[in-house]
């Protein structure tokens, strides 16, 4: 569209802003359901079939909740802090390469931009904790600041290793580089890039304040950490920011290390049909079949059959869309990107269901004594190996 250069970015921005809160709602539902699986519980079951409409109920509840501002708080900062967190978290979406043609913008410093924004996002947490005028909030904010600052260094080292291999900061450029070199960067350099990938994966969990590094909001110690005094819509903004950050951080991992919107083994042409057509179509048809099976009466309670059948039809239609070549080539990139991001988000929930929280000194020791030195070392080793393996070739 040469005559309307701003149309597509604006459209995608609008879709992201409108749809992402809903997506966050469903990530939360998925988290509750997966955690319930690990703890042999059922999870939400009451709102809609199998709790499918729970996010909507939660959203309505949060929106109509009384808006409490502590009397002794700094009202303006109390108001602006969650906004700051949310805006910075959502701004990071501008450079995420959702697929080959679905992206808002592709700046040549994309990765740096995301890193900078995630640093600014800490400010929202610190301000929120300080403005609440509560000890719990302040302690949570302090922990959060210290944790994020120390893990950002390790994360930076891991990312620099990736950048070195990619040779560019542009998000689309990084994926193009993986396509040109025909390998995901997690396996580049004779597998040595696995080390920065693991460092990044661990630092990313700490960076997004998730378990086992969830000290800023350690509920057994600090009530709820920096957002103790927040409730209703402001609280939901913080949650939105947290999940947006998780999504952004996972997207960076996918882009830099796991090939972004490329399918696995992009160089093998014969894998096009099984991976690009059969796999997504089969996946959605399987989900559709599951919905159909779930629409029957289960364990003595009735299921809302109408909603389940709509879900069945929707997922079956989505699966069918992957069988149409013209549609397939437009959405297959988005599918692979979101599939990889979902896999990483599942791991986040998995960690939360498995690992106990670290003590504060353990957290700092892991960060400074292990993550940062390993990040530095892998940077040097990867640099040397990269120079050696690409000797003669133009860097």
């Amino acid at each position: 569209m040469p005559d309307l250069p701003y149309l597509k970015p604006l459209l995608i921005t609008a879709v992201v802003i409108l749809v992402f809160p809903l997506v966050v709602g469903y990530i939360v539902l998925a988290e509750r359901k997966v955690l319930a699986d690990y703890q042999v519980r059922l999870g939400p079951m009451r709102v809609g079939p199998y709790g499918f409409l729970q996010p909507l109920a939660d959203a309505v509840k949060l929106l109509i909740k009384e808006d409490i501002v502590p009397a002794a708080s700094d009202r303006f900062i109390f108001w602006i802090a969650p906004v700051l967190s949310t805006v910075t978290a959502l701004t990071a979406f501008t450079v995420l390469p959702l697929s080959e043609w679905i992206y808002i913008t592709d700046v040549n410093i994309g990765l740096l931009f995301v890193l900078a924004l995630s640093s600014v996002g800490i400010l929202g947490i610190i301000l929120g904790g300080w403005a609440s005028n509560s000890h719990y909030s302040l302690l949570g904010a302090l922990r959060s600041a210290a944790q994020m600052v120390s893990y950002e260094v390790a994360m930076g080292f891991a990312l620099v290793s990736g950048l070195m291999v990619a040779g560019t900061l542009s998000m689309q450029g990084i994926i193009q580089a993986q396509r040109d070199r025909q390998i995901w960067f997690a396996f580049e350099n004779y597998g040595l890039m696995m080390v920065p990938f693991v460092v990044y994966a661990i630092a990313a969990v700490a960076e997004t304040n998730r378990a086992p590094f969830d000290l800023p909001e350690a509920e057994s110690e600090l009530v709820a950490g920096f957002h103790t005094e927040y409730s209703g819509f402001r609280w939901s903004l913080y949650m939105l920011a947290e999940y947006a950050n998780m999504f952004a951080v996972s997207s960076i991992a996918v882009t830099l290390f796991l090939g972004g919107w490329l399918r696995p083994f992009p160089s093998f042409a014969w894998l096009h049909f099984p991976l690009n057509v059969a796999f997504p179509a089969g996946l959605f048809l399987l989900i559709s079949f599951g919905c159909l099976m779930g629409s029957r009466k289960q364990r003595g309670h009735r299921v809302n059959t109408g909603i389940m059948l709509v879900l069945t039809a929707a997922t079956a239609g989505l699966g069918g869309a992957f069988l149409v070549p013209q549609v397939n080539e437009r959405i297959i990139g988005l599918f692979w990107f979101l599939f990889k991001v979902s896999a990483i988000l599942y791991c986040y929930i998995w960690y939360r269901g498995t690992f106990p929280r670290f003590r504060y000194d353990q957290l700092m020791r892991i960060g400074w004594r292990y993550m940062i030195p390993i990040g530095m070392g892998s940077l040097i080793v990867n640099g040397v190996v990269l120079l050696w393996s690409r000797r003669g070739a133009a860097l």
Partner: protein, 151 residues
Amino acid sequence: MIKFLRTILLLDLLQGLWVTFRNQKPSYIYTEQYPAERPQVAERYRGAPRLNIHPESGETLCIACNLCALACPETLIVVGSERNEKTRRKELTIFTYDTSRCMFCGLCEDACPVDALELTQDFELASYTREGAIWDRQMLEEGPLPKQYKR
């Protein structure tokens, strides 16, 4: 050396992840969807009291002997009776049972010589008032009637 390798490769963490992953079998779930799914209480469970009636004549089995009221450690049973001059027998007039004070020890049902008073397997004893917890003769004969919820 092996311990060092395990630490480097994060094997312990992976092992932990596997433990949580393999435990998510649907058959392990024993969550009860309570209003939709009724729990199976044991046969010897002692719940709501019931005053049995004769299945054919519909008359109460209680002979108003007052033994249950004497057996009750909480003295929460009140039995009222009057003599029927025609049949020359004691007949039951009132029978109240305060479930709010009951500890379901079952001594009353043991004391009953005619198996009229019995502790059943019903467990839904909630009411909106304190007075609602004091059951009269009619309620004891009919048993608790909890509201049925759909879904």
